[in-house]
Structure formats: structure tokens, C-alpha cells
């Protein structure tokens, strides 16, 4: 068996540190951008442009009392926030940052990502269960049903890309896009994949598990201090990972004109999608729960199935 590792230990450490730093910075980026889009300033007091707001928030959150409610199911309450950090960080293992930059080169990279994203649901579900709080339980029930429904077509929507590239390996998928990025032939797939990504990371407009005007804060109602911070950073890790996956599958990964290095192209495209995720959060209203379910099962699932049939049929017709 050939070794799948491609990164040196230093590279792996560098990726870990930069990914966590980027995710923490996103807290500030999101507050600032939403502020601008809502015609206000956002946090701009601490440091230049408010850049040190993240450090201030981190110091605050570390020194807060880390309270575990006496009625909570303690072991599950403790592991729930760790699960989301772990699954999201493990997801970065297969991201192809650039040729030769990355951690492993796994033949089933795409499936590995789907497996981790389906495991990350447990974080939210268990957090709500362990809190022994009505609102938290409602939030986690919503999260479980929403994730299961949207997971179904998340995998299916990426299958068109797999058919075109002929591989589950993310590096081979990027290489297959040398003649043209997949977002044009797979536009329906891109739409469904993006929607599923937003729903899976339960961010606005699909943030019903933590809809604050209905169920307080949803699944993390009882969490405080750094445990709450882990849910928060985990969410931003998810945004970063989702952007990286969309770039890899549909927008040619590290490919781009040669005047800039491949790694830079990859980061630039990721940044565009991160900003896009923030934009849809501030631009779109939250749907009602039955609308969410209907949209998933009656619109998106048929669309992805049709996409697979058409892609497969065209592939056979063109003699692929």
C-alpha cells in the first residue's frame, strides 16, 4: 500500500494553526461585514479597524465561568462541543490546498468529507439532549431532522462532479478541471451542494436549530465560556471547510493564471466563498420549518436526481 501522507509534520502543524486562526478571525470579519451591509460600523474600537476584537473576545471567553448545569448529562455535555471541533478539523485533512501542499491524498476524499460532515451532526444533537432543557431539545431535534434531510442530496449533488472527473479523489477532481471548471456543466449540482452546505453547518438562513427569537439560543442555550466558544469556532471552521470544498469541486481548486502561485489562487477563491456565506446570512430571511423541509425534499432532491440522470445520460451519449 502506498503511503497517502503528503505533508511534512511542519506543514501539517502550519495548516492546523492557520486554519484555526482564519476561523477565529472570521468572527470579526463576519461582524464587520454584516455591519457594513446593514449600514452600521460593526466592532471598530479595539486595534486598527477593530482587528483585535477577536483577541479581546477570546480573553473574555476564556475567563468566563465554565458552568455545567447540575441537571445536565455531564459526560455528553462535555464531549458535544469537542465533536464539532474534531470533525471539522479532521475534514481539513483531505483538502487539496495546492500541488504538494496538504495532509493526505486519499482516494475516497470526497466520501471522507461526507462521512465527517454527517458525524458533526452529533455535536448539535447531543448538546441539546445533554442540556435537559426544553429549548435546547427543540433546537437539537430541529438540527437532527434538518441535517438528515439535507445530507441526502448533499452527497448526490456532488456525484455529477464525480462522474465528470471519474474519481472521488479531490486532487484528481481538481486536475480534471484543467479544461474548464465544473461550475458550468454542473450548475444544478453547485446550487444544491451550496444549499446543503449552508443547511449542514446550520448557518443563516437555515439556522433554525438556534433560531433565537423562537427557542432562545437553541442547542447551546446552556453552554457558557469556552464550550460555547468551541461551538462558535466550530461553525466558522465549517464555513471555511465548506468554502474549500466548493472551490475544489466546482471552481478548479488551485488552478488559475500562472502569475500567482496555486496556493494563493486557492485562498482567494475560498475567501470569495466565505464572504458569500456571510452575505447570504445577512441577506436572506429565515424560512419556516415546514418550508425548509418542503424545499429540501420536494425541490432540491428531485433537482439533484435529475442532474445525475442528465449528467450520466450525456456522458454515455458523448461516449465518455
Amino acid at each position: 500500500m502506498k503511503s497517502m501522507t503528503i505533508g511534512t509534520p511542519w506543514q501539517i502543524f502550519g495548516i492546523l494553526v492557520s486554519v484555526i486562526t482564519v476561523s477565529a478571525l472570521l468572527i470579526w470579519v463576519e461582524r464587520r461585514l454584516i455591519g457594513i451591509w446593514q449600514d452600521r460600523l460593526g466592532p471598530n474600537r479595539v486595534g486598527p479597524w477593530g482587528l483585535f476584537q477577536v483577541a479581546a473576545d477570546m480573553i473574555k471567553i476564556f475567563f468566563k465561568e465554565d458552568w455545567i448545569p447540575p441537571f445536565a448529562d455531564k459526560p455528553i455535555f462535555l464531549i458535544a462541543p469537542a465533536i464539532i471541533m474534531m470533525t471539522m478539523l479532521l475534514g481539513f485533512v483531505i483538502v487539496p490546498f495546492a500541488p504538494g501542499v496538504g495532509i493526505i491524498d486519499f482516494n475516497f476524499g470526497l466520501l471522507y468529507f461526507l462521512a465527517l460532515s454527517s458525524l458533526s451532526v452529533y455535536s448539535v444533537v447531543l448538546a441539546g439532549y445533554a442540556s435537559h432543557n426544553k429549548y435546547a431539545l427543540l433546537g437539537s431535534l430541529r438540527a437532527a431532522a434538518q441535517s438528515i434531510s439535507y445530507e441526502v442530496f448533499m452527497g448526490l449533488s456532488a456525484m455529477g462532479v464525480v462522474m465528470l472527473a471519474g474519481s472521488f479523489n479531490l486532487r484528481e477532481i481538481v486536475e480534471a478541471q484543467r479544461d474548464g471548471w465544473f461550475f458550468l456543466p454542473q450548475f444544478a449540482g453547485l446550487l444544491a451542494f451550496t444549499v446543503a452546505m449552508v443547511a449542514e453547518s446550520h448557518r443563516g438562513p437555515f439556522d433554525l436549530p438556534e433560531a433565537e427569537h423562537e427557542i432562545i439560543a437553541g442547542f447551546h442555550t446552556e453552554y457558557s465560556g469556552m464550550k460555547f466558544g468551541m461551538f462558535f469556532v466550530g461553525e466558522y471552521l465549517g464555513v471555511t471547510l465548506n468554502s474549500a470544498l466548493i472551490v475544489t469541486l466546482f471552481f478548479g481548486g488551485w488552478l488559475g493564471p500562472a502569475f500567482l502561485p496555486p496556493l494563493f489562487w486557492f485562498m482567494l477563491k475560498c475567501a470569495v466563498f466565505i464572504v458569500f456565506f456571510i452575505l447570504i446570512r445577512s441577506a436572506l430571511p429565515r424560512p419556516r420549518y415546514d418550508q425548509l423541509m418542503n424545499f429540501g425534499w420536494k425541490r432540491m432532491l428531485p433537482l439533484t436526481l435529475l442532474n445525475i440522470v442528465v449528467t450520466g445520460g450525456l456522458g454515455l451519449w458523448m461516449g465518455g
Binding site: M1, A115, L119
Partner: protein, 168 residues
């Protein structure tokens, strides 16, 4: 190294499966079941069946178990159910399961004694899984999908609103 990893994950799978059986709290039992499924997924990986390994995690640990946890949370079982289950577990109930599982154990012992050489270290890629599924096993795949369709239609029928059954 691989052998050590295999025995480690097999041990994890066995221990967590035993813990599933002896838990009183249903959600804790389900969590141990998830660990057990992850461990068996890792065993598939070590045997070279990467596709089966990843699917084990996606489908069993990631989807089916989420549904189980979902249902258990909805039912909100408490002390009353534990007492009820205890009343069902009278001594002597173990005879039937014991007989059946000892038969299985005998079978396992026989197979190990035969020392059939396992087909280890062969990497199975997605293409070969697909060819096997839609070649020799096509009938089984179709039968399974028919079964799933029947289940889907049945649950739709059961879950539809009462409106058209009862006049308002």
C-alpha cells in the same frame, strides 16, 4: 503495525458493543453503538475495503444512528421505562439467546479451526464495488430498492395528515 491496529480497533468494537448492552441510559447505549460502528469501519479500512469503510461511517454512524438518537430523544424515556424493562428481565430469560449465541460461537470456532486464508491487503476501489453491484448482484440491488420503496410508500401513508380520513 497493521495487525496491532486491527486488534486495537477490534477490541474497541467488542468492548463498546458489550457496553451498549449493559447501559441503562438509552442515549449512552446509542453512543457506544456509534463508537462500535466507527471501529468496525476502521477494520474495513485496514482490510483494504476503503469504500465500505467510508460508507459504514456515512450511512450507519452518520445517518441511521442520528435517526435512532432522534427517535429516542423524542420519546423522552425516563425512570418509568427503566423500571418496566427491569420487570421484563426476569432470570431464566437468557436460555434462548444463550443457546443461539453458543451455536454461533461454535460456528466461529469451527471456521477459525479450518484456518481459511483470508484475502488480506487487497485494495477494493469504487469501480470494482460498482461492477460487482450492477453485475452479478443486480437482482439483489433491485430487490433491496423495491423493499426501500415499499417502506417509503408505507411510511408516507402512515404519516400523512388525518384530514382526508376524518371529516372536519
Amino acid at each position: 503495525m497493521e495487525l496491532a491496529l486491527f486488534y486495537l480497533s477490534a477490541l474497541i468494537a467488542l468492548v463498546s458493543t458489550v457496553l451498549v448492552l449493559i447501559q441503562f441510559n438509552t442515549v449512552h447505549a446509542l453512543l457506544y453503538l456509534i463508537v462500535s460502528l466507527l471501529a468496525s469501519g476502521f477494520i474495513f479500512y485496514l482490510l483494504g475495503a476503503y469504500f465500505a469503510a467510508v460508507l459504514e461511517v456515512i450511512i450507519y454512524a452518520g445517518a441511521i444512528m442520528v435517526l435512532f438518537v432522534f427517535v429516542v430523544m423524542m420519546l423522552n424515556l425516563g425512570q418509568k421505562t427503566i423500571a418496566q424493562e427491569k420487570s421484563w428481565l426476569y432470570p431464566g430469560i437468557w436460555r434462548g439467546p444463550f443457546l443461539l449465541s453458543s451455536l454461533l460461537l461454535l460456528e466461529l470456532g469451527y471456521t477459525i479451526a479450518q484456518a481459511a486464508s483470508a484475502n488480506l491487503g487487497q485494495v477494493v476501489d469504487a469501480k470494482r464495488v460498482g461492477i460487482a453491484l450492477f453485475g452479478p448482484y443486480l437482482l439483489a440491488v433491485e430487490a433491496a430498492s423495491l423493499l426501500l420503496l415499499a417502506g417509503l410508500v408505507g411510511s408516507y401513508r402512515l404519516g400523512r395528515p388525518l384530514r382526508d380520513k376524518v371529516s372536519p
